[in-house]
Symmetry: C2
Subunit: 109 residues, 2 copies
DNA sequence: CTAATATTTCGATATTACTTGAAATATCAA
DNA sequence: TTGATATTTCAAGTAATATCGAAATATTAG
């Protein structure tokens, strides 16, 4: 991941609504959630949500697929991993800021 | 680190100039760099830099100390570590997106 | 105290981001 | 094809961020 991509991903996550959307999609796993389900869960107008989904999608953090009338969004874990790797490699130093690899708090998936 | 702090740190890093400043300070290590040195290195007007330094400082990603007439800024590695931990714990899932702990590309420090 | 240096704060402007109803597009079912 | 459902795109407004010269503040030296 280069600086441009990292900036794009960072600014995609640097918003309350988009961070919520992304976290919801992380919990949803590979299966994902439709735009309608996300809008219901987060109680936001469809057009507002669409704006934020487009932003996350442009940054490569989520994928979109159509299933009949619904558009299903899902988190792109590889991309998120690449962002974490970028931050660890470029914004940490001498091991001082190396990831702790804490035991993961697992949900259902 | 809570969601509010994470958003603050993400938006601080989600800017070309501030990411450059932060990376420069990571390389500078504990010693840090004065505002003037940073302005020279990145060729930006003092008042613009000051705006960005204040942003990073508010987010807790950098510390400020005075040394005679100069204000010295330095990266807060603990805070950066906390951000990476937040992203790993909250925005990854089932180990799919766990940090790889690649060998660090070391600079001088 | 006065001058010089280092940096921030102010203020005005410019740019970018967010919000949301309404209109447009896509899919499916009858 | 018509109607219903799901979602996006458009447009026009509001809000938040960024820019940078000039003025203000802090520190040191003479």
């Amino acid at each position: 991941m280069n600086v441009k991509d990292a900036l794009s991903a960072l600014s995609a996550l640097a918003n309350e609504h988009r961070l919520k959307v992304f976290r919801l999609l992380v919990e949803a796993g590979h299966e994902g959630r439709s735009a309608g389900e996300i809008a219901d869960a987060l109680a936001m107008p469809a057009s507002s949500l669409s704006f934020h989904l487009a932003h996350l999608n442009r940054a490569g953090l989520i994928a979109q697929r159509r299933e009949s009338r619904s558009l299903i969004y899902s988190a792109d874990f590889a991309r998120m991993n690449a962002l974490v790797a970028f931050l660890t490699e470029n914004c940490c130093s001498g091991g001082v800021c190396a990831p702790l690899v804490k035991p993961q708090r697992r949900k259902s998936a």
